[in-house]
Symmetry: C2
Amino acid sequence: MDISQQKKQLHQMMEQYVLTCRKAGLKVTHQRTEIYRNLLMLPDHPTAENLHKRLLSDLPSISLDTVYRTLATFEQCGLVTRIQTTESQARFEAVYAPHHHLICSRCKKVMDFKWPDIDTYQVPDEVKKWGRINTITVVIYGICNNCESLEPLIN
Amino acid sequence: MDISQQKKQLHQMMEQYVLTCRKAGLKVTHQRTEIYRNLLMLPDHPTAENLHKRLLSDLPSISLDTVYRTLATFEQCGLVTRIQTTESQARFEAVYAPHHHLICSRCKKVMDFKWPDIDTYQVPDEVKKWGRINTITVVIYGICNNCESLEPLIN
DNA sequence: TTGACTGCAAACGATTTGCAATTGC
DNA sequence: GCAATTGCAAATCGTTTGCAGTCAA
């Protein structure tokens, strides 16, 4: 995808965001808009703190609690997802398409990947009997190439 | 599996636990043993607090920080796994066999299920290129039958 | 104009830590 | 006996909340 097309898509997502806010009765504030745009432009699963630090250059007075509050609000109206992790800090991402996560056990970075086939596979019977299934997410743990080359296994 | 066989298996796991502690240079204390036994006997993915409350009947003086400390120690030597959740409290389970999780979005209860076939499926190329894969975990979100029958969707 | 939203500071819940007493090896 | 482990209390971290001023609609 070329740059101009990316811009177009970003623009569409931002318009969609405004509509979603309107529908939910939320005011479209400067802070909220920048938080959402930042999540879209740098889709690297930041923590609330990460996000806050990045936003300070554009919004020098934005407070960390606004970031927390906004993420909680966005989560409720389905604009943002809280990612499952074993870390103590929560990570967030803008909702855009079903996907799965690759997590590096060393650097903790989360990478997205698509696995459309997963939905075509038959889940075990015990799962079907358990209840109504909503989403199937795959989380793969491993060591990313970068970490593998940086840190030797035995030192 | 009948009761006597279950007892036998529990016994084996406890013996294995002692060996793992020895190998890791950990002392086999009363508290550690009871924490591990409790995790094995009630494999319901408790939080540290859940676990602490249950242990109080057998060990009236055990402190919550010991439970936390012990779980962290067990995690490091591979006896226990910290489960990925979006909740603020961490959940734990004794490590015994590869499996996946069914999480009810309403009651938050976690159920285990096996899906041995998952390992035979081909992961996407981008995953193979990312690095060295360790474990593949599937997390399915949905509503369990119990919650579905208890709470109506619209009220 | 007005209620929703923000920044501030203070509270909160979950988890971790320093320390002296205790216990397994 | 000695180092590792525990219980206690206090500290810490991430997150949430009450409040008074501010801003989008």
